[in-house]
Symmetry: C2
Subunit: 753 residues, 2 copies
């Protein structure tokens, strides 16, 4: 654990700069607007260790690297989120001395990310001999004009006079730290000094992956007025320079406005003209006016989603940070995008889309964003159905296999034990359809596009199982379950359970769905009978004596022992143990059997839940950022309140406290829903199966009260849990809600009973 920012309900703020934690600072002060994002790099540059990172949604590159002996069915390439041309550059010098916080002298440093809207503010007094200049930077990526980045620098000569030079830069000469051969991913197409634009294209590739053309345009305003600086260009880069001369006490404000366009939206030829139009529009208002509009958009988001925790400021900050970062990553505007595990905060992990979306993002987004945001995440999978058929076909299998990692529907990660063995993502895609339908009551997706997805996945499972003659049962061999600390196991209980569930759900929904879907996909009676046979004769590993579902065949033969037996200096084991030792150990990375019990919660008895929780949780090391939340929810359900609160602590401030010692690489975006899920589904016990919203709340001992909001079937609901639980219907038609086993009738304007 390492905490470098101060506790504050709305700010992520620090008054110190620790060079050894520069990367951590950059991750925690990353901002994004769903269209693009960047790490908390400094505008003026920084010569010490840091990770430069600017990322554009949907802009990527297929890395050709292969090792070992490539085999049939392996993906052809590894999809990389590439570092995009940088647009924040604003080189500065004071009286001839370059401004560089790695080498220069400075004081009164502060940096703060305002979570109300993702405004990053930074200030320091730079000292050059007798001269002291106060430099204040503000920047945000507009939620109003998503192609726009607004950057403002105010310089005030505290002691003077000061001659300050600036050089506002656009720079396409960027690299990825994770490139194998230090290769660059961008080719410059041209620079226009007059228009202050640079245009670049991603390098050619042999995989039919489209090349992306990006244009960056900047314009400067000095004290609100346009300036015409000295512009110089080099291939792929541009710099616009000028000088400010300030007497003591004087100040000046330089604004750098940026427009970023990509060929995903604007054809390369039209980018220059379109960017000029955008820039004119953007500069029609001041920085502060644009910020106000941006903040207003965010205020609406918070009105539907804010969580208040009274009595634990660290927890309060943690959950707001998570919600803010999630919304900065994805708010559904572009249906071709998804929620990457690092969002716009780092280059680690290839690809954009993981099962995280369906397993962790959907359950929260359903309740805190307008329904069309979650619907967009579902639609994304349907739009990539052709890729899923391709992926299955690559394995010689029928039906649709949604990718483990992808940008476009085609699998783009290259470890076999992951790509064609971690099949749980396929059922999660189906389960998200169930969740969306069950929560919203909106059947329009499951009855049309969603049914095509369900049929595709069902066909995959029907081909992927095999029939064991010896046992007379269907089995699923060769998978990696949610517990990635085992690979290539047979009959992972979770995978088998969810595969049968998909077949069951598809069969159950088919009669209600648009018949045209089943007809066009030629679903026959024989096929449905085969699906039913698989449901009826699926093999599930269980141990009667222990009364548990067994994680997979032979799991119980391991040297079973609790995670508490691991010496503290060997945790996390993934940073201390060989992969061999981890694979053979009984230790579980994240919920596996328990993930199934979480998903299909209403199908298991309390005793089943308890026995499995008590068996598996002690062996779980929670080294996936996705683990603690699911366990917290089940612990809460089982009345293990202390355990639930302990596990909540691990999810709420995972990044702010750098629990896994890897936040320097970027934030754990997709697991940020965990703290919300732990509070709402855990502490408040929210469930919504069988068309009934229910709560079974408890209040953690250390908290005075907590409250959250839910969007549910056209209502906006406030839930306040203190000494007692109070529900308030803020908008929408009346609703009956079950609270701790009793029905409560809610109407707008009426306090509940």
């Amino acid at each position: 654990m390492k905490r470098i920012f101060e506790i504050d309900p709305w700010l992520v703020q620090s008054h110190e700069l620790h060079p050894e934690d520069k990367r951590l600072q950059e991750s925690l002060t990353a901002i994004g607007n769903g269209y693009m994002g960047l790490r908390g790099n400094f505008e003026e540059g920084y010569s010490g260790d840091h990770l430069q990172g600017t990322y554009l949604g949907g802009v990527w590159f297929p890395d050709k690297t292969r090792v070992g002996w490539w085999k049939n069915g392996y993906p052809e390439y590894f999809g990389k989120a590439i570092n995009a041309p940088s647009f924040i550059g604003l080189k500065l010098s004071v009286n001839g001395q370059p401004v560089d916080l790695a080498t220069g002298q400075f004081q009164d440093f502060s940096i703060a990310l305002d979570m109300h809207q993702g405004l990053l503010t930074r200030a320091f007094t730079y000292v050059v001999g007798e001269t002291q200049v106060r430099l204040t930077f503000r920047r945000f990526l507009s939620a109003e004009i998503r192609q726009a980045a607004l950057i403002e620098m105010t310089a005030q000569a505290l002691t003077g006079p000061a001659e300050i030079t600036y050089a506002a830069a656009l720079d396409g000469n960027v690299s990825n730290e994770d490139s194998n051969y230090d290769e660059r991913f961008w080719d410059p197409l041209g620079e226009d000094a007059k228009a202050q634009t640079i245009q670049l294209i991603t390098k050619a590739n042999p995989y039919q992956v489209p090349r992306f053309t990006v244009l960056l345009k900047q314009a400067l305003r000095l004290n609100g007025q346009s300036v015409a600086p000295q512009v110089t260009t080099t291939p792929g880069a541009l710099s616009a320079a000028g000088t400010l001369t300030l007497a003591a006490g004087e100040q000046a404000t330089l604004e750098k406005d940026v427009i970023v366009l990509t060929s995903r939206d604007v054809a390369p030829d039209a980018q220059g003209q379109t960017a000029a139009t955008f820039m004119r529009g953007l500069q029609g208002q001041s920085f502060d006016q644009r910020l106000a509009a941006h903040t207003a958009i965010w205020a609406k988001r918070w009105a539907q989603s804010d969580v208040i925790i009274d009595g634990d400021d660290a927890a309060q900050q943690g959950i707001r940070f998570n919600i803010a970062q999630l919304f900065m990553t994805y708010y559904g505007e572009d249906k071709r995008l998804n929620v990457g595990p690092k969002g716009f905060t780092g280059e680690k992990y290839g690809g954009a889309t993981y099962w995280d979306t369906e397993a962790y993002i959907v359950p929260m987004y359903l309740a805190v964003t307008p329904p069309d945001v979650t619907r967009a995440l579902l639609q994304y999978r349907h739009d990539q159905l052709a890729g899923a058929y391709h992926n299955a076909q690559q394995q010689g299998l029928k039906g649709a296999l949604f990718p483990m990692v992808t940008f476009n529907g085609i699998e783009c990660h290259n470890e076999w034990e992951i790509t064609f063995e971690e099949l749980h993502r396929n059922s999660a895609v189906a389960f998200a359809i169930y969740q969306y339908t069950a929560y919203t009551g909106d059947e329009s997706y499951v009855n049309h596009d969603g049914m095509a997805v369900l049929i595709g996945i069902s066909r995959f499972w029907a081909d992927r199982v095999h029939f064991s003659k010896r046992r007379g049962q269907y089995m699923i061999h060769g998978v990696t379950g949610p517990n990635e600390y085992e690979n290539n196991v047979n009959n992972n209980w979770y995978t088998n359970t969810m595969a049968a569930w998909v077949l069951e759900y598809t069969l159950a929904r088919l009669p209600k769905a648009d018949p045209a879907v089943a007809t066009s996909l030629k679903v026959t009676a024989a096929e449905k009978a085969h699906w039913q046979d698989i449901i009826d004769r699926m093999y599930y590993p269980v141990d009667q004596k222990l009364g548990i579902f067994v994680q997979n065949d032979t799991y119980l033969d391991k040297d079973l022992r609790p995670a508490s037996s691991i010496p503290a200096d060997q945790r996390p084991i993934n940073q201390h143990w060989s992969w061999d030792k981890i694979l053979r150990s009984p230790f579980i990375k994240q919920a596996d059997v328990l993930q199934g019990i979480y998903f299909l919660n209403d199908r298991f008895t309390r005793e089943q839940k308890e026995r499995n929780f008590d068996f598996y949780e002690p062996m779980t090391v929670h080294e996936s950022s996705l683990s603690a939340s699911i366990h917290a929810i089940l612990a809460a359900e089982l009345g293990k309140q202390e355990k639930a609160v302990e596990l909540y602590g691990r999810t709420a401030r995972l990044d702010l406290d750098n629990y896994n010692n890897d936040t320097a690489d970027g934030l754990h975006i997709t697991s940020m829903t965990g703290s919300w899920l732990a509070i709402v589904q855990g502490f408040a016990g929210m469930r919504y199966d069988h068309d009934q919203l229910r709560f079974k709340p408890f209040l953690p001992k250390a908290w005075r009260h907590y409250s959250f909001k839910l969007t549910y079937r056209g209502r906006l609901l406030a839930v306040n849990v203190g000494a007692k639980t109070q529900l308030t219907l803020l908008a929408g038609p009346p609703l009956d809600v079950e609270v701790a086993g009793k029905m409560v009738h809610l109407e707008v304007g009426h306090a509940d009973a």
Copy 2:
């Protein structure tokens, strides 16, 4: 199957050049001398598709490429056999037209590899307008002066006159086809036009792997006299040019003598001078004199190893080709080298040393080469013991883990399911010690260096097993057995069996070994007791009903079916099926349970052998080149003569008939022992356990007779199997041999009974 060379007992010869099979031709006409080797590339160059390949023993490069998510315990690099600077180049033109068989006009082509000694001869008549020139090339790599390559070209003007230019080249500008980023592995150090040398060094690397400096020197002789050609240089390359003018009927012979030195033997600074000394020595005799000396060395080898098959010319050619290629790859001169799976014939597969050495090379080399050749292979492992301890330590394990793939003892392949799961190589290293000791009767290795190896391996196994409390037995989880068509299985019967065998053999040999070894390695009574406990309580998967040893846990749950059920157009499955489909199938790549029965042959009953053979062989697809021989031997033992002969056919001409459709990449060197093993251990039923040489021969129906020679404990023995079996002791003291259950007394000069 594809056969491009003619059947001949001593020649691999063709009178046609098929451009579409150029790579296959190059593999089959590769030559080597244990120090270096090269593919059958053409001296004058070839502009069509081909694979340039020259390889120097022990010269390699650590490739840094990583993909996916690197984890603790993965090797840092992938060791690559790199394409070395080429020394055969002899560009030619006839009347201004470059000689290039890909584009020019030619007739009466022939190419022949003489297996007596590895002399490659090639001839064709090149036609330029009215002019016809007969060009004949001969080359060999000397067994007498191993640093020397001798290349001779004779040009005869059939119709004239002809002006022939030549440019003899040394060229370091070579690449590897398997490099990920088309990177070059060599940096030029300098060229000396006068001395006709080039010197290069392998590129720097961050892994403490030494860089190799190589010097190539050439000198030309025209009709036996030194010539001083026009020498030009470019970085890393050199060319020596001249002109021959021939009237019709005239001929001239140009000889290119080459010396190749590496920093493995000669310090870089001394290489120029040393090469000059070598060159003077080399040129002290003519090409034909050197060839005679070279051939004499080979004649001695053949006298100890030749196999004669009467009645099957294709089989005769196959076994001689295999023996010749094996001896061209390794004859024990350099104890730092080993037998790579492709020898000097291709760049496929990284590394130099696989378990192939102990599992397949040792059993044959024991009997056909002087004992010190096999002893050198054993010593190689002892000399790399430090690397083996390092490999185990990388996995967090005690003891010695010999590498799956290596150049220097340190694991250098980078697929986890191979490097730290294919543990059978570790037991094979121990088993080779047993084989050597049992065959030769020489206990000097097992009692000294060999004991240190055995203790290291035993300690590894004692740490690698785990105790299953539920079963009360020791288990080995997470391995890939010899059947590489399953990965990461639990309790592979073969692996468990051989691990226990190693412990047993070590305990049995310890009392007889040099006590200093056990003392210096601090073997305690407690440690020995623990080894015995593992032997006593090892878990072996068996199926009582089927009466078989089970390949691994849950293997019997698969969709079991015979390989004959695979449609012919889907064979080999590794070229048609996804890895996913292969892993989940019941099909076996190579002997797995049966490999254990082969190794520990005297421990199993005939019924056990039969039941396991009948169960596993039908599911075996023999897609490892190492598979058919082991099955042939067991089939022969079980009286399944037709099956044995069928399987022999797959091993004897694997490359000559391109059975696996991959010989274009290079020869399957290490599996070339398979045909010898099938004849000697299979058809002739040779066994040598319990200090008794035994035979139980049969004669394949299609053959008239076959004979082979064995070196055994100071004797040279000839075995001739026809209508009856005849043994002749050619050299050494008298010997009692068991033939078909009866003891036969052999003395030199006496025919056997």
